[in-house]
Symmetry: D2
Subunit: 346 residues, 4 copies
Amino acid sequence: MNAVSFASDYQEGAHPRILERMASMNLLKMPGYGTDDICVSARERIRKACACPEADVHFLVGGTQTNATVLDALLAAHEGVVAADTGHISVHEAGAVEACGHKVLTLPHRLGKISAAQLGDYCNTFFSDLNRDHMVAPGVVYLSQPTEYGTLYNLKELEDIKDVCRKHGLRLYVDGARLAYALGSAQNDVGLADLARLCDAFYIGGTKCGALFGEAVVIPNPQLTPHFFTLTKQHGALLAKGWLLGIQFDELFAEDRYLSIGKPAVEAANRIRAALVQHGHRLAFVSPTNQVFVVLEDEVAKRLGNLVEYSFWERSDKDHIVIRLATSWATTDEQVDQLLLAFSKP
Amino acid sequence: MNAVSFASDYQEGAHPRILERMASMNLLKMPGYGTDDICVSARERIRKACACPEADVHFLVGGTQTNATVLDALLAAHEGVVAADTGHISVHEAGAVEACGHKVLTLPHRLGKISAAQLGDYCNTFFSDLNRDHMVAPGVVYLSQPTEYGTLYNLKELEDIKDVCRKHGLRLYVDGARLAYALGSAQNDVGLADLARLCDAFYIGGTKCGALFGEAVVIPNPQLTPHFFTLTKQHGALLAKGWLLGIQFDELFAEDRYLSIGKPAVEAANRIRAALVQHGHRLAFVSPTNQVFVVLEDEVAKRLGNLVEYSFWERSDKDHIVIRLATSWATTDEQVDQLLLAFSKP
Amino acid sequence: MNAVSFASDYQEGAHPRILERMASMNLLKMPGYGTDDICVSARERIRKACACPEADVHFLVGGTQTNATVLDALLAAHEGVVAADTGHISVHEAGAVEACGHKVLTLPHRLGKISAAQLGDYCNTFFSDLNRDHMVAPGVVYLSQPTEYGTLYNLKELEDIKDVCRKHGLRLYVDGARLAYALGSAQNDVGLADLARLCDAFYIGGTKCGALFGEAVVIPNPQLTPHFFTLTKQHGALLAKGWLLGIQFDELFAEDRYLSIGKPAVEAANRIRAALVQHGHRLAFVSPTNQVFVVLEDEVAKRLGNLVEYSFWERSDKDHIVIRLATSWATTDEQVDQLLLAFSKP
Amino acid sequence: MNAVSFASDYQEGAHPRILERMASMNLLKMPGYGTDDICVSARERIRKACACPEADVHFLVGGTQTNATVLDALLAAHEGVVAADTGHISVHEAGAVEACGHKVLTLPHRLGKISAAQLGDYCNTFFSDLNRDHMVAPGVVYLSQPTEYGTLYNLKELEDIKDVCRKHGLRLYVDGARLAYALGSAQNDVGLADLARLCDAFYIGGTKCGALFGEAVVIPNPQLTPHFFTLTKQHGALLAKGWLLGIQFDELFAEDRYLSIGKPAVEAANRIRAALVQHGHRLAFVSPTNQVFVVLEDEVAKRLGNLVEYSFWERSDKDHIVIRLATSWATTDEQVDQLLLAFSKP
């Protein structure tokens, strides 16, 4: 098939340096389970990038297992996790959080986000409810940065949410599956050090951001989850050849590569947004990262599908759907050209 | 460190063809979650090698998650899994099976194995116990081939166990984390087609057998677990970039490579066993695959540790321990020479 | 305290015949776990009342454990239970369903109810979603009859919901914690035989309907959950002295007592509703069973609280709350008089 | 059937005072969920009997749900519970502990007991195992007092076990399903205050010891499990009409009735043991509480079964079985006479 694909940001391989390094040490024998020196180096680089020298850093394989493992570690049995109703854990993880015994407590989203005000209302209502001991208590707040809608929490919003968490004794967890595309956005004002300062745990996404696979969990206060290693094992999330994850994050954080690797993707998305609008297409909403959401007539969407692989997002009305186009760290100018050409076809 | 390592068979990288193929297609965009053509090809090769054209084949990342996911799929809520008390799921998976809500029902092992007679007695006792409805029913039998002791079930033993399973309505599951080292042993008479004929599910180990990571679950009767895909997602065991697993198993099963990849490892282990015995060392027991278990005086073990990385297996008596040496598909003659030289040091 | 209580329908003891029978046989030795003759008789009476001679009938102790056990028995691992967002399992069972590993999939309620249309839309959307294998599938529909709002599904509504269930392969489960108050309502057209015909499982509430405690689970097709007994044990829901439950349901179904035991409660509630409206009070909504929901100014509610125990239901606006008054099978005319007198106080 | 029954101690009703009190207040309206004054009084009596004025006391319905709830409250996710392989949670609770996600780590019993030495060895081995982070850590020790074999831990044994717990950071939990029969034994030197001093949690059995149903959980240090109430709800173990449990324990602890209620049962068992031995019968082992274990030829056991209901315990050899006879607080001299007469039949 010759169609150019903007279907998802996990369709790429890895930054070339990663494969080179894997190949170069393929026949060296390495200790397992992340106890090797490359993991030590990768952890150190991440701690430095987060300005958090004490942080615990764990390398897991994929996003769903990371969310389930971290939330299981952070939640007490009587608690659930508060998330936007569009949050990945709420919808697209096949009930992984519930399978660990925890309820996801959903709040209505606005472009994928929830607000400190919403959270505060929810907590105030819950903690003043006379029946609260018969209910699941909010224990952790789950945010994604960027969200599933490609939108961003700004620093003020995060700090306000953190204030609500502090007030009610909740922990804050950020899912950074696409974090590189937040860090690469001109509109972003939340750095890794901010996340380390505000979160009880967050993860730095590798799979969609330059690695073959892998997510780096950062737990700023290691006292919080002393047995996290055993929990990763129990959740089937501990890779035997941990150095494969070490290599990937060591390369992604060499020369702070991760801070800039998402930038070209966001610029490509900006170029696509601008061109589509200029050509009279309608964006479902504007988001400042690597995802573009376009409203198309059914007929147009169908024709476009022969030339471009995209994701179906949702039905907009009787005759229109919203599609999603995702750029990535590996998107080329030629691919964008080909995409825009396809859009310009009659 | 200059010590030669025989600590484990997961210390290696991957068969060179795997890394080459990953590199060659690194910047191609691929569909996710195992829906790509390479996975299709790899599944087809495995079905053919198993002489089981109808089988469902799923690629997961690691052994613990595979065991937990498959057992969760095979067990009803009132059932548990019968395993040797030395089985990997019984001891070294951090309670992953129990974390999914299922009990492991252990039988005493003999060199890592359980017998049809033991299983039959257990089932007869259980199903004639008047209190059985207050107890966890045996639902699945878990075997490892080779076992954690490097021993093998022969075909007659497996068939006898299967007969007991049939009689009592149990399913049979084989953990093949090191399956290539069974297939590569001259003493083995159990082929992939036998496993496909006798098992309700088994997995073909990649991580320890030539892949970077990955295990291929074979379910001969796909009607048995129609929603296995969703369960892998729920268990956090679904790799976004499924084609990475496809590549690895497509290469491992190209020209039936998997059937022979373990042979040099077993031959190296045989050479080590023979040489050690000849030099007056005592084997804790003899096993016909890639693991060697040696009884050493504490003092000798300590000195040896400067020259060789090995695994501590267990204390044998007050003054002796048992160590484990594991060869792998990548073990070289030179490494064996270096090992034997180390043993010959005063 | 001399206040008359309309706080809840579980505040009563039991129908006098139950205590008499318990006392009369207190020192007889009985076989355990529901294997006694009284349980046999009670089951037979329930089967007859349900016109369902084949049904499995199990006696459990309380509502939350019943819901968790039945749903665990009915749901496959990849499935969740669809419920109104106001359903008891969604809100007031402390996450018991999720603690068993299952997600509650909520639909917005209308006076505690969901509709066949809503359910059909939900199922159509789900089963046509290309990502559905990454999501929790609807597996069971949970309804309460009467609902938490005291409202009723009529027969047509139930049949329509059942049609949607059939179309999409879902099972239907009805929580009848207050079922006697549905059966006792003049507006009800759904009998026990209808429930047995339409449901895959339902429970006949004892705790709130004349028993000291106990709920009778009816499973019209016993093939559906062959190991339900063991599941009740596993869920801690199996009473050792099962005959205590047998006595209660044998008495509640003697002379079909259960069919009429709720009638005086509904009549009392009707009398309260009429009187309150007549005296200028505003009902939050009208429901045809044993619960009355009244909008009160904060100040009035506070004064009333000295004379009447009621339940806080929700805040209506800045100056008003909604309170709930519950009558029961044991409510007397004198108690209603006292309540209405309290409302008439300045 | 005219056979006298010694099959189990849960075959009785309740102490007559309990039923009287239930009847006397049957039509009083009571607040739910254990918030009533009778529960307050019962808790206070138990605290006093335990010489532990700070203890948290919770009333649950049955033993299996109590064990599952308490262990879920005491265990961290990476921990399991150490128990004798004959412990009730290990065998006869249908996997309730595992269904909550926790592994039961079994030690071989000696007449139902485990020793401090065994536990110490287990802990020493575990905590010095280099692979321990891949294994389930011992987190709680589960003992039953009396054990399933009717045997008792003496104070020294309990203190030694507690010392091991302290050394390794384990919590100690005692299942007192039959605790009254320990307290009623002349050989017992462990009082309620000792349990409160040594245990992190224990439960005082009601179901087998004079109540209709109910178990009282004592948590000497309430800081240990601040959300225990919500956990009981989540486990379906919270009785709506909590005062029913309050009445039972208030009566059982009125005038310290619980301390002596088991004494006649033990005396009856002693009388049975002495008479059987005198008449040439063989006891399988001697235990000092209310259970008697007799070795019988198959033929004799069969004949006896026409006259006496007993429990099958286990097969002793080809021609003999062991039966269990259980006395209770309600056993009469006449019943013992009838039993002994049956044994004396040819």
